[in-house]
Amino acid sequence: MNAMEAELQKLKEVSEMVTLYGPGIVRSLIILVVGLVLAKLFLKYSRLILRRLNLKEATLSVVVNVLFILIITLFVAMAAQFLGLKAMVIGRILVGISLVLIGIVVIFRPLIPTLPFKVGHTVKTGDLLGKVEGTTLMNTRIRTFDGKTIFVPHSKVLNDYLINYHLIPNRQIRIDFPIGYREDLLGAKAVLSEILAEDPRILKTPPARVFVINLNQDGVQLAAWSWVKNFDYWRTRCDLLEKIKLRFDHEGIGFGMARRLVHIQGASSEGRTGADNLVSSVEDKTA
């Protein structure tokens, strides 16, 4: 009987506890859930609104995340108050948690691998080129220039090579192409130099250069190297290619291309020497 009484006593105590704290716990949970939903909605819409202010992506992320944390903290404090905790105690707990978190970050920061880019940077990792939209604990969100959003695990980013196009303000445009061996080389160099000199986006220093980079089966390999601001890179490169094609066509300078002359052993040997007929392999010849 004593055991039965003890069990009943326990149940009574639990019932009293539920009666005493139950409504507070339920209210706290409701406040927490509502707070989380509101914070999520705030995160979504504030990002859209702030984007209209033309803030940098990195600044925008910091502002939105700080406001998100503040809203969550506010709702946690409210929930704690509904549980019966005093405001002073809640304040102390929050300050304590903040200090511990800051301490952890400060102490362990040298051990935490940092990503070699920030939100808003244009990067290339592996064969992926795009703009960093955001980072989470697990992955990096990259928006490619053809409109795809790709989530790349940090492990891949940290273990693969990565090019960050934002760390230097300028970028070199390299246009290498061949012209035929019989074309006017000096004329071609002059036209190329003019095209580079006329473009206002090409920087004066370092100066643009035109030179012969190779003599190979495609023809005389010309190189036109110039520097532009990062922002101008793609458009300037496309413009230069278009100008070179049209101006070279206009000037009658032919582009080089690999051609193959095939000598077939045993074919008609009229006008050819015996040595010619011995050539059975494929011979490369540029027009």
């Binding site: 413009d239 278009e242 049209l246 101006r247």
Partner: protein, 105 residues
């Protein structure tokens, strides 16, 4: 002559790089032609002559109608100029081009 002086002379005689480009055109107002351009003064210039010529071509197509040369608001003489108002050669032909030329009465 030292190298620095020679380079300076070569630079002065070499192509003067424009700061940007505008599309210039003439608009008929009353009995006279008024010269106008876009982007207008104070607006940033176009930095690409390829884009400037493309805009000029589209502008010419949009402005082209039954050209009489006398109608109010008619647009003609569309070309690309640099920041100083000098005509810019078309990069494809290295020649000066005027789109939608004025109809001679």
């Amino acid at each position: 002559m030292d190298l620095k002086e020679a380079m300076k002379m070569i630079g002065a005689g070499w192509i003067q790089r424009p700061k940007g480009f505008r599309v210039r055109f003439d608009r008929r107002q009353g009995d006279q032609w008024i010269s106008d351009a876009f982007p207008s003064e104070g607006e940033p210039l176009l930095t690409s002559d390829v884009m400037a010529w493309e805009l000029a071509r589209r502008f010419a197509e949009a402005a082209r109608k039954e050209a009489t040369g006398e109608a109010e608001g008619e647009i003609s003489g569309i070309t690309v100029v640099d920041d100083k108002g000098r005509p810019v050669t078309f990069y494809g032909t290295d020649g000066i081009h005027v789109l939608n030329p004025r109809v001679q009465a």
